[in-house]
């Protein structure tokens, strides 16, 4: 740790105190520089952009300590090629996994609930091939009820309890790695909606309770330490499975605030050929109302760069 002057120290301490005082804004991020940053947005080639985004935090070792058990939750639920925009790019998944291993993680697991035939999802989304060079990573396809455990949702407004992936209780660091896509029911499916990949009873969310509120409730018990949005491509219509109109956005968005990351990404492109903001998406708005993060992009400190 480098020596800092008394002035700089005081500046940083004040900034910390101020942001703590403004708590309803949600968690924010301490970067290398004197200013705090809520989101890091990098435009360009996805692999390079991912590296740059992680560097902006001083490396993933800010989140992953040696001997940590890491769970990466991408979207690999659809059995279609990455070009269709319905799944997280395999290069991004491998990039994050490799970074975690380099930071000394004891174990890295990639997990998701496949919505189609598991073996076909795993292969078509490109992950099987990409992981051939990184054999230390385990993949957990959550295909059976015994992989889940009934968990209370104390802050849930409609969700009292639900079965959540058992692996989470053995995880030190959860990294959410969604892709940016539209959704026929919820409008968009990004980080917040993506948490449904860690539950068992999806039918309950759709049938018995208000889906949008249930997604917000779920986010009160599953809290990733880091959210990296793969917005290299956005499936702007026909989601969540596609096919539909895919826009090449070539952007990586990273942050610790799940509402902010989703909200910012909504604003990056038109959806169903219309302009929407984060606050126009019901489940994101409900999550923000529950204090899970900042939905107003204008209030966020954003570091934008490119590679």
């Amino acid at each position: 740790m480098k020596n800092i002057s008394r002035r700089d120290f005081l500046k940083q301490a004040m900034a910390a105190a101020l942001s703590a005082a403004l708590l309803p804004r949600g968690p924010s991020l301490f970067a290398q520089g004197p200013e705090t940053v809520d989101l890091v947005v990098v435009k360009g080639d996805k692999v390079k952009a991912l590296k740059k985004a992680l560097e902006a935090y001083g490396g993933i070792s800010r989140f992953v300590k040696p001997q940590d058990r890491v769970l990466i939750k991408p979207n690999i639920s659809i059995a279609s090629p990455p070009e269709w925009g319905a799944t997280t790019s395999p290069e991004v998944i491998v990039g994050v996994a490799r970074a975690c291993l380099d930071a000394g993680a004891k174990r890295v697991i990639v997990a998701d609930y496949p919505l189609r035939a598991p073996v076909v999802c795993y292969e078509k989304c490109g992950l099987k091939k990409a992981l051939e060079e990184l054999k230390e990573v385990d993949v957990l396809l959550l295909t059976q009820e015994r992989f889940f455990v009934e968990t209370e949702v104390p802050k849930g407004l409609v969700l009292k309890s639900t079965k959540i992936a058992r692996e989470l209780s053995k995880t030190d660091v959860l990294i959410s790695l969604p892709t940016a896509k539209s959704h026929s029911a919820t409008g968009v499916s990004m980080g917040l909606k993506g948490l449904m990949g860690l539950i068992w009873d999806r039918g309950y969310f759709h049938q018995d309770v208000d889906l949008n509120q249930a997604i917000a409730d779920l986010a009160t018990v599953i809290k990733p330490k880091l959210i990296i949005m793969d917005a290299s491509r956005a499936l702007t219509s026909g989601g969540p499975g596609g096919p539909g109109v895919v826009k090449e956005l070539n952007t990586i968005v990273a942050g610790v605030d799940p509402v902010a990351v989703d909200s910012y990404t909504v604003g990056l492109t038109k959806w169903y050929n219309k302009v929407f903001l984060g606050k126009n998406v019901k489940h994101i708005a409900l999550a923000s109302k529950m204090g899970l993060g900042e939905i107003d992009v204008g209030k966020l400190k954003i570091k934008e760069t490119s590679v």
């Binding site: 189609r116 076909v120 029911a185 759709h206 026909g238 499975g241 169903y272 929407f276 126009n280 019901k282």
Partner: protein
């Protein structure tokens, strides 16, 4: 002769192991898929399917087997056949059996004749009695789910039927060793006929004392000790005679094939009876008399040739059922009558047809399911989905379900805002032109009991040949990419 017996045991084990290897290697779409060579070499499958379809299937491997049989006799039965090996195993467990008084060995020829007549006249049922298809059906329906119990290995519905048949076949060992092989198996009968002049055979040395032990122990009653004759129609090279011959008078020899050899023991009555029965039963198979043949709600695998030919070409091997990654392919029992017995259908409530998979066509040994590329297969329409609005959560209960729209791999389900009695919400609509009937929607519909969205065979395409991709279909798909937008989902606020 212990050495010969050991060699035989090893060779049998190798071939059974090979069968299991090919079976396992083509069990999942994650592997490179191909047709199990046992099917490709089977002359019964080749012969009956070629006759039934009036076209020539690949004949090189079956021809090689026939030529080898012409030289070595029914070595296939004694050394190669996986069912034969398993029967030997179960016969061993059953132990010593007193040879039955009456011989039924003529029956297999009558059966072969009967089945050939049926397949020439109308339908093919030979495959039901083919030992290779019996083995693979049983492995798919019984062995594989049992072995993969702790993984997601597909369950085959009504698998007990196949288990029952298999146990019955093995159970016949109580009556006589290798009962199936000697008395029923039409492949055995066919190979017997092909091998009648085989020159590599077992026979008695001149010093033979005619004690008759060999005749008593021969499971297929191939030996007539009085005439010092071993029938090449029946001898399956099981080496029982060699083993039990006290004087070591039985030996492997090269015999001069002599024409005018005794034909199998067939009576004229039996011959006429088999042919006559075939001429009568054959046409009946395709009528309603023996079970429902029409109006059945059956979805066939994508790429299936037209129904009549499909049922003649399908040898009920169970390979497609084994390989299907969603477990959607299941055997029919009598839904399509006796003619359709055990042929595969897509049980869409159990599993749909995965868009990015073409496994069934890759493993089908006869082309009953055409081998299609991934892209072409995705253009095959096997039916159309129909929404039962009174059951649907979105239509009937105003709930934000739309799981069918979510999971549809072709974006053939649109969610549009419809006002019903003051409630304006997203409801699903099926676009019949885009829908291929894959049934993933039906398998994922979350309501209890029958699905609110059901695939019916409406508009199914079954091409005997020619491309499934047409310019019109391509244009329709491409228009999706260019941006024909559906209604904005209710997940957005205005």
């Amino acid at each position: 002769m212990r050495l010969l017996k050991t060699i035989r045991f090893i060779i049998q084990a190798i071939f059974l192991g090979l069968f299991i290897y090919f079976f396992a290697a083509t069990a999942t779409v994650a592997n490179h898929l191909y047709i199990n060579p046992f099917f490709s070499s089977d002359p019964l499958i080749f012969g009956t399917t070629s006759v039934a379809l009036r076209m020539l299937l690949p004949f090189v491997l079956p021809l090689i087997l026939i030529l080898l049989t012409a030289v070595f006799g029914r070595f296939f039965c004694g050394f190669v056949c996986p069912l034969g090996t398993m029967i030997d195993g179960s016969d061993f467990m059953i132990g010593k059996v007193r040879p039955a008084a009456k011989s039924f060995k003529s029956f297999k020829y009558y059966l072969l004749l009967f089945l050939v007549v049926i397949s020439v006249v109308s339908a093919s049922l030979l495959h039901l009695f083919d030992p290779i298809t019996i083995t693979s059906r049983t492995f798919t329906a019984v062995l594989r789910p049992a072995v993969g119990f702790f993984k997601d290995s597909g369950q085959v519905h009504n698998g007990f039927v196949f288990l029952g048949i298999f146990v019955l076949i093995l159970g016949l060992g109580i009556v006589q060793k290798r009962f199936w092989c000697g008395n029923i198996c039409p492949l055995g009968a066919l190979l017997g006929i092909a091998g009648r002049l085989s020159i590599v055979r077992f026979s008695m040395k001149d010093e033979c004392t005619e004690c008759g032990v060999c005749e008593r122990v021969c499971p297929t009653r191939a030996i007539n000790i009085e005439q010092r004759h071993v029938s090449q129609y029946e001898c399956i090279r099981c080496l029982a005679c060699l083993e039990d011959c006290k004087e070591h008078e039985m030996r492997l020899t090269l015999a001069r094939p002599s024409l005018g050899h005794r034909a199998p023991d067939l009576s004229r009555r039996g011959f006429v009876g088999a042919v006559g029965l075939g001429l009568v039963v054959g046409p009946l198979l395709k009528t309603e008399l023996l079970g429902r043949t029409s109006l059945a709600r059956i979805i066939r695998p994508p790429g299936s040739i037209p129904e009549g030919r499909f049922l003649d070409a399908c040898v009920r091997c169970g390979e497609c059922i084994k390989v299907c990654p969603t477990n959607g392919l299941q055997p029919t029992i009598l839904q399509r009558g006796w003619h359709g017995l055990f042929a595969p259908q897509l049980a869409t409530r159990i599993g749909g047809c995965e868009r990015n998979c073409n496994g069934c066509g890759q493993v089908c040994p006869t082309g009953a399911i055409r081998k299609l590329s991934l892209e072409e297969k995705s253009y095959v329409k096997i039916g159309t989905a129909v929404i039962h609005k009174e059951m649907c959560l979105a239509w009937e209960q105003d709930k934000l379900c739309l799981i069918c729209d979510e999971t549809c791999p072709y974006n053939a389900i649109d969610s549009r805002q419809v006002d019903i009695m003051g409630s304006k919400l997203s409801r699903p609509f099926v676009n019949e032109e885009l829908c291929t009937g894959c049934g993933i929607c039906e398998s994922r519909c979350p309501i209890a009991g029958p699905s609110a969205i059901e695939v019916l065979p409406i508009g199914e395409e079954r091409l005997r040949s020619g491309p499934y991709i047409t310019p019109r279909k391509k244009a329709l798909r491409e228009s999706l990419e260019k941006g024909i937008f559906e209604d904005v989902p209710t997940g957005f606020t205005e």
